[in-house]
Symmetry: C2
């Protein structure tokens, strides 16, 4: 990392820099990335790291991680579904999802009800508290998304969205 800088909003919001330091870090002249520059996976990952770091920081006040956020949204959009269905949709291992849901349940944001049709599975729902929290969470997520648009440029964000959204 170490590049990045221009964007107005980063200064405004006091984002965070990796090297952070004041121009003195520039002492180490920049190295070339070599053939790394020709790997889509690498440039993809650099942006992805930026996104996660900004997301985590933006939602720090609610202590919500990306995976938790994705689970909350999918439960909201598909109330009453099982852990297996949620996990499969998001690509989260059932073992990991069990622990993740445990935490969300502890916070009273979701409930697991017994399923009438299959005694093995649980029906997942947001609680009233969960819905209330999600309003605030979505607002913060929107701030993050705006900052991302600012980081890559609104037009580039739209283009990336179109390229990535529909090939799945």
């Amino acid at each position: 990392m170490t590049r990045r800088r221009p964007v107005a909003s980063t200064a405004k919001t006091g984002l965070r820099r990796r090297a952070a330091s004041p121009a003195r870090a520039e002492k180490l002249n920049k190295l070339t990335l070599g053939q790394l520059d020709y790997h889509l996976g690498y440039v993809l990952r650099r942006l992805q790291i930026w996104v996660f770091q900004d997301f985590i920081q933006t939602l720090a006040t609610m202590k919500v991680r990306p995976a938790q956020y994705s689970v909350l949204l999918v439960i909201e959009a598909n109330p009453g579904r099982s852990q297996a269905a949620i996990g499969q949709t998001l690509g989260i291992e059932r073992a990991r999802l069990a622990r993740l849901l445990h935490e969300l349940e502890r916070r009273k944001w979701i409930s697991r009800r017994a399923s009438g049709s299959d005694a093995r599975s649980h029906c997942l729902h947001l609680t009233a508290d969960g819905e209330k929290a999600l309003v605030r969470i979505k607002s913060l997520a929107a701030q993050h998304e705006a900052r991302l648009a600012d980081h890559v440029g609104a037009k580039r964000r739209t283009q990336l969205m179109e390229l990535l959204r529909d090939f799945g």
Copy 2:
């Protein structure tokens, strides 16, 4: 995850299914992603996960992880530089880089020589073994890249590359 297996034919048609799995998994009717679909970070991450999994699998015979690969390429392109410089270029914490280099050194792929100008720092170089291994590694990485192009489509890959490479 569960999907994977970038079969050529599906990539060619651009169809691809997320659940990918053996048709029986279709039993669980597909859930909607809700507002997740409007987060660039999410779609970015899905592809990024695919890339890493394919990369790791493709380079499994050489037991090379993405981070190790990136370090090898940057050392190759910038021989004699310090750990600090490498780490800063790639955005890898110096603590983590130290362990990572330890492993590469154990495998005789890199060497750390004392720096003449600063007794604190090490100069990093590929060994002859390292250069030889890197030939094989790059060949596997190229296979991975080709599979990625097949997965997203060659044209889309190029477009993504252009959008992501130069805004840093």
